[in-house]
């Protein structure tokens, strides 16, 4: 893997090399869209670079692996400055004669405003254009409202209530402060008084009148405007795991970008910083494993030798920053307390390359356990001896099996472990479908008049839920039968094997934390293999189970995240007390963010 990330103005940046004198900068979307669309941004960067144009992508300040937080003051200005610095860096460090900006969603809005200010951007591409900051905020508000009012059995956003009181907006844990909302409203492509670039490509979700009107307006400013359609954009925007890569649309875009690119060779001096420093921690991108294809960020205490290390595995298909940037926040918080972290991407997810012959974005694959082993190798080579492995959902599945297989793991934290055993008979997109609540949760809700009302109106997906529960009962019956018959078939593993693996961890002295959201379907998996409430694990030393109520699968709300961090810190030997954080009203908190 030839790419080596670095920091421009404290922003994590990746340069995909190319030899052309035309350089391209990709400006990501923000928030949930950034998490979901990262896969496509990365892929497009590879495609553009493969066509010869050096391509830079980066995380804005306060997002991704960059410095700062989305709640810092002047966030929108910081995003605009990040784009400006990227343009300056690409010109100065590669010597390209022309710079093209490609902005996804709000990234396009930011790119257009910077381009209009600079006046020397060769071309601009708006992917899924956001006409104005106000339009974006309205979409975010609508999503929050629709999600929050959906059935507690499917998708909802717990965090919204956290920020409402302060006049901000919170969608899926991504916070927009009141000031950020206000500043966003000042960005409007229809208010530009000069064209951001002589050539503009609008790659929209459809041939919508809004995009047409935007194109007409930009033409009145003197731009040559081309329009394309990105098939399946809605899936790209909300669910990258189910979206198909728009190869044809990207190929058309790359051809457009290449038109009249000036000949000559760009140089690569690569003088940017390779680490990020704060007063309490330092971060460094790390590449390891076969062909250095695996990627992680190593966060260490700034002024002390780490007392231990937390190795963090992807939460589902979310890149290493975690759902709602949880792992960045956690890493920096732990480093301030003397604990190092390595937040990694398994192969084919986030910024780790796909292994040859393996599909992209694969969950529950045995090969991914080898990726974790490669991370353990790297940590050992760098002197880390006390290592706790942290995984959430599918990441917990991989972490469990990696810990069982590797004695170097001295601690284990499994959050809403979705599956103890991967079953090759299950569809390959298992784990990419919406998650459901636990069977117990549904039974408890059967006494609720409101649920019967919603069933009658069809607002609860009765058939899907019934199928899910029936499937669970069948699996439970099958496992019982296997244990009675004393044999196993195929890849199925009996509960005795899982208990044996826990016992092995316990006897080895590996401290295990099992943390669950009350009502999450992961509790059914626990009941299936370890007895209801994990009763078969009760006598094992070093194995602890805790639950958090009033939260979703992803632990999105600020309250549940604080509890999660506190429980984890106690597990790894930091802090002694779990803070007492009051519950919010239940109506505001019934959440499961799994369908994102």
């Amino acid at each position: 893997m030839s790419l080596k990330p670095f920091y421009i103005n404290d922003c994590m940046s990746w340069l995909h090399p190319g030899s052309s004198q035309r350089g391209v900068i990709l400006c990501s979307p923000i928030g949930l869209e950034d998490l979901v669309m990262h896969r496509f941004v990365r892929r497009l960067a590879c495609d553009i670079a493969a066509a010869g144009m050096p391509t830079l992508r980066f995380d804005y300040r306060g997002t991704g692996d960059s410095a700062g937080s989305e709640t810092d003051p002047d966030t929108v200005q910081a995003w605009l400055t990040s784009v400006r610095r990227a343009v300056e860096w690409l010109r100065e460090e590669t010597g390209v004669k022309q710079v093209v900006l490609v902005g996804f969603r709000v990234g396009g809005l930011l790119a257009a405003h910077v381009a209009a200010q600079l006046g020397d951007i060769a071309a601009l591409v708006l992917v899924g254009p956001v006409v104005s900051g106000s339009a974006y905020v309205r979409e975010a508000k609508a999503l929050r409202s629709l999600v929050a009012q959906s059935s507690g059995a499917t998708t909802a956003d717990a965090a919204s209530a956290d920020d409402e009181g302060r006049g901000g907006l919170n969608v899926a844990g991504f916070q927009l402060s009141r000031a950020t909302l206000k500043d966003l409203e000042h960005l409007d492509l229809r208010m530009l008084t000069r064209s951001p670039a002589p050539r503009i490509f609008l790659l929209g979700r459809s041939s919508s009148p809004a995009d047409r009107r935007l194109g007409e307006y930009l033409r009145t400013l003197g731009a040559e405007v081309s329009v394309g359609i990105l098939p399946g954009f809605a899936s790209m925007q909300w669910n990258s795991s189910l979206a198909v890569l728009p190869r044809d649309a990207f190929a058309e875009l790359v051809r457009w970008l290449k038109v009249d690119a000036p000949p000559g060779r760009a140089r690569f001096t690569r003088t940017a910083a390779n680490r990020l420093l704060s007063s309490e921690w330092r971060e460094e991108p790390v590449q390891f494993g076969p062909d250095s294809r695996l990627f992680a960020v190593h966060c260490t205490p700034r002024h002390s030798v780490p007392r231990s290390t937390l190795l963090i595995v992807n939460h589902g298909l979310n890149r290493h920053i975690g759902w709602a940037r949880t792992y960045v926040t956690l890493a920096r918080r732990l480093a301030a307390q003397g604990v190092a972290t390595l937040r990694m991407d398994i192969a084919g997810v986030g910024d780790s390359a796909t292994a040859p012959g393996r599909p992209e974005q694969q969950l529950y694959a045995r090969e991914s356990v080898a990726d974790i082993k490669a991370a353990l190798d790297w940590l050992h080579q760098h002197g880390c001896k006390e290592i706790t492995l942290l995984g959430h959902s599918a990441g917990a599945h991989l972490s469990f099996h990696a810990a069982v297989a590797d004695k170097r793991v001295t601690g284990l934290a499994l959050i809403n472990l979705s599956r103890f055993v991967s079953d090759p008979m299950e569809p390959s997109d298992y784990g990419k479908r919406p998650t459901f609540r636990s069977t117990g949760w549904y039974w408890s809700k059967m006494v609720s008049l409101d649920v019967w009302r919603r069933l009658a109106s069809g607002r609860v997906h009765a058939i899907s839920i019934a199928e899910t529960i029936a499937g669970r009962l069948l699996r439970r019956a099958g496992l019982r039968l296997m244990s009675i018959l004393g044999r196993e078939s195929g890849a199925e593993v009996s509960h005795t094997q899982i208990i044996t693996q826990f016992r092995r961890l316990s006897e080895r002295g590996t401290k295990v934390l099992l943390l669950y959201s009350i009502g999450d379907e992961a509790l059914d998996e626990l009941a299936l293999y370890c007895g209801r409430g994990g009763r078969r694990l009760a006598n094992l030393r070093n194995v602890h189970l805790q639950t958090i109520d009033d939260t979703d699968h992803n632990l999105t709300s600020r309250r549940s995240r604080e509890l999660y961090f506190a429980i984890l810190e106690r597990h790894i030997g930091l802090g002694r007390h779990i803070p007492s954080i009051p519950q919010r009203p239940a109506a505001a908190a019934r959440l499961s963010a799994s369908a994102y």
Binding site: R138, E139, A142, L143, V147, Q149, S208, A210, S457
Partner: protein, 106 residues
Amino acid sequence: MDMRDISSQIRRIVVEYGRLAIASEELTDHADLYAAGMTSHAGVNVLVALESELDLEFPDSMLRRGVFGSIASIRAAIEKLIQAPMATDIAGCERGISSLSRPGVH
């Protein structure tokens, strides 16, 4: 604005952006779109497409799940917008239907 035309446009947009699990011919005006498979995210895409194609803006007070629950409820919301063209006529409205009062509405 002809409501018959609008009804057919709503239907077309719902079918195109709602990602429903049922065939369009089975979709009645009162069918529950969420029960028919429309996710919250698809609901936002329906909203954006409605605003774009009908050149209107739903006020914040209308950004509710129920408003986008069926073709009939969407139509009722749009009728309400047309009958109350001033933002102040709609309780809780922050920006109102500014675009409806602009020339060139279609």
